[in-house]
Amino acid sequence: MDGLFQIWVYLAEQPLLWLAVTVSAYVVAQQLFLRSGGFPLLNPVLVSITLVVLLLLATGTDYDTYFEGGQYVHFLLGPATVLLAVPLYAQIHRLRRQWLPLSIALLAGSVTAIASTVVLGLGLGLGPSTLMSLMPKSATTPIAMGVAEKLGGEAALAAVFVMLSGITGAVAGIPLLRLLGERDPAVKGFAMGVTAHGIATARAFQHSNQAGAYAGLGMGLNGALTALLVPLFAWLFGL
């Protein structure tokens, strides 16, 4: 038992352990999702993160130690974003034809995300700092953190809110759109990407490559638009 503990102490310090845990949690979550026939609440991102967090809490491991291993997976987000160009290219003809509807839908979505957050947040009595951190929640993490900080919110809190919005969009997106009778994968993907960025884009790619491509497009565009609109809305609402 003592020997086993020694091994644990050694491994817990190594990036390998938490890298292995991250990938294994994903494999388990993915299997669970597939075997449940794609049950929305068993979303792979949600389940994997829950598994990892529970393991970290149970072993008393801090996040920095975990990230020593997690960073190798995390790093791939950048190259994956660059590679979104490939599925996007497959849609280029449709994109050329529909740039105007897409632009208007983008604006409608971006405004809805920010304005509804302010109205709901004020109505539910959230303080200004929390509200500022919450407003850019439909942008990707680095953008949301930058915007929140500039306006007097908290960057770390903004990152958590981005994550929670992404998971909400990934879990609720497909069932919600199915309920509304939406069939077009492009419409589904774009709405999910505009609203809930990368995590919903990951979900859209599980649906189809076309949905994924449109989600990636929506994510990229709304990141930029949110950076412009949040300061404007903060001023409009007198925050």
Partner: protein, 118 residues
Amino acid sequence: MIPAFIALVLLLQLAGEALVRALGIPVPGPVIGMLLLLVIVIFQGGPPKPLQALATGLLNHLSLLFIPAGAGVISYLALLADNWLPVLVTIIISTMLTIVVTAFTLKFLIRRMNREDS
């Protein structure tokens, strides 16, 4: 030649990061990298097979890549303790509303465009 395309993707990401910093654009570097790759692929008349394989391989498991950042929530559970309920309600309602508004707007405009065309 998969390594050549891995190098291309990394270099474009690097170029994106450099451009964003040089020009002060409020967009993440990899998004600029994506636009650069799109321009290259358009000029090439389509992505070559190895690049296609690389993209499919990584994007099919995009979910995996969000786990480390997502687990970061653990550091801020205390910050959320005070007002987790109003925050969660705001996020859930606003997210669902945004999905519906975006999808309806796009659907409506595409239908109108198709009617005008025919």
